[in-house]
Assembly symmetry: C2
Homo-oligomer: 199 residues x 2
DNA sequence: GTCTATAGTACGATAGAC
DNA sequence: GTCTATCGTACTATAGAC
C-alpha cells in the first residue's frame, strides 16, 4: 500500500492501489474495469463515481506517485547538503523503494505512459528526474564534478544505478538491492568526480 | 525499413515494418488491425493469412529484431578482439541505430513486452544483452577491468550509454547521439577499468 | 494469396434503484 | 456514495468469393 494520501477517499485509495498492482502485473490495457472491481472489491458504479474514466485513474495514480516521490526526495535534499551525500542518499532511497515497493519502481521506470497518457511528458522530464539532474548540476558548479555535458554526467551517475534496479526488478540479481549500494554509487560517482583518486 | 529478411515474404515484411512503427508510436494495444491495414496497405484477410493472430505479429517482430541485432553484434565481435574495442564499437552501433532507426531502439528498450508477449523472458535476458555482459566478463578475466560483481560492472558500463540513449529518444539531447560517444564510453569504461589513470 | 463483409465478443461507460 | 444490470461500440478473428 504505497498510496496513502489524506486528500483522497478510502475508496479512491483502494482503486489506485489495485490499479498500481494490476497495471504493473498485466499492463494498463490488459487490466479491465471488471479486473479492477474484482481486485479492489469496489463496484463498477463506485469506480466511475470516483473517476471520470479509466484514463483518469492512470492519471491520478501517476500524479500521486510523482508527488509522493517528490516529497520524499525533498526530505533527502533537506537532510543533506553536499552533492555526494545527496547523490548517495537519493540512490539509497531508490534502492529501498525498489526493494519494498517494486510495483512503484516498475510503474515509474518501465510503464509506457505515453501509451495511455498521451498528454504526459516523457518520464525523464518529470520532477523526480529533474531533481536527480539538479544534484549533478550542483556538484559541477561547486567543483566536485568534472566540467562536462550535464546530460552525460547525469546519465553516467544515475544510468548505472537505474540499470541495476532494472536488472533486479527483472530478477537477474542474486543479492538484495541494498548490498550493491556502496559499490555502485562510488563507482559511478568516481568516474565523473573531480578528485584524482587512483582507486 | 529495418526489417529486411529474405526468409520472409514481402507482405510479411510490410506488416512487420508497419507494426514496428505503430507499436512504438501508439503502443501495441492502441494499434488495431484496421490501423495496420491502413498503414501497411495490406488487407485484414492477408494479415491473418500471414500471421495466426495479433500476438504472432509482435512475436515475429521481436524475433526478427533480436536475430538481426545479434547478427550485427557478432560482426562487431569478429572485427575487434580487445574488451575495450568491443565495448566501444558495440556502443557506437547502439548510438548509430538509435539515430537511424529510433523505432527499433524504442521497441527494444522501452516496450513492455511482457504486456503482450507473456511468455517472453525479460529483455535483459535476451541474447543482445547477454552479449553486452559477456564483453564485460571478458574484460574482467583478461585483467582489463577491476574484479567486481559482473552485474554491477555491466550496469555501470552500459547503464550510462543506455540512459543517454533514452534521454535522446525522449528528445532531451541537443546534439546528435554520435557526438556523445567518445565522452560517455571513456567515462563509463574508466570507472570500472583496472588502469590507474588519473584523468 | 488477397480481398470484403461480417460474426462474435468483451470492453468502457451509463442508467437508475437503494 | 454504492450497487447491479445493461447499452453501445470497437475490436479480433473468420467466412467465403475471387
Amino acid at each position: 500500500m504505497f498510496i496513502q494520501n489524506n486528500e483522497l477517499s478510502q475508496t479512491k485509495q483502494a482503486i489506485l492501489n489495485s490499479a498500481l498492482n494490476l497495471f504493473v502485473e498485466k499492463g494498463y490495457f490488459n487490466t479491465s474495469i471488471p479486473d479492477l472491481v474484482k481486485h479492489s472489491g469496489v463496484s463498477t458504479g463506485s469506480i466511475y463515481h470516483s473517476f471520470k474514466d479509466k484514463e483518469a485513474i492512470a492519471n491520478t495514480l501517476m500524479e500521486s506517485l510523482l508527488s509522493q516521490i517528490e516529497c520524499e526526495q525533498n526530505q533527502i535534499l533537506a537532510n543533506h547538503t553536499s552533492s555526494w551525500a545527496r547523490f548517495y542518499h537519493l540512490c539509497e532511497w531508490m534502492f529501498q523503494t525498489a526493494e519494498t515497493y517494486p510495483d512503484v519502481m516498475q510503474f515509474i521506470l518501465n510503464a509506457r505512459h505515453k501509451e495511455f497518457l498521451p498528454d504526459l511528458l516523457p518520464i525523464c522530464s518529470a520532477k523526480p528526474f529533474t531533481t536527480l539532474r539538479a544534484v549533478i548540476q550542483q556538484g559541477m558548479e561547486q567543483g566536485d564534478l568534472k566540467e562536462m555535458d550535464i546530460m552525460v554526467a547525469a546519465a553516467v551517475a544515475y544510468g548505472g544505478v537505474l540499470r541495476l534496479i532494472q536488472l533486479g526488478l527483472d530478477g537477474l540479481l542474486d543479492a538484495p538491492f541494498n548490498s550493491y549500494l556502496d559499490s555502485i554509487t562510488k563507482t559511478c560517482w568516481s568516474s565523473i568526480s573531480n578528485t584524482n583518486q587512483t582507486q
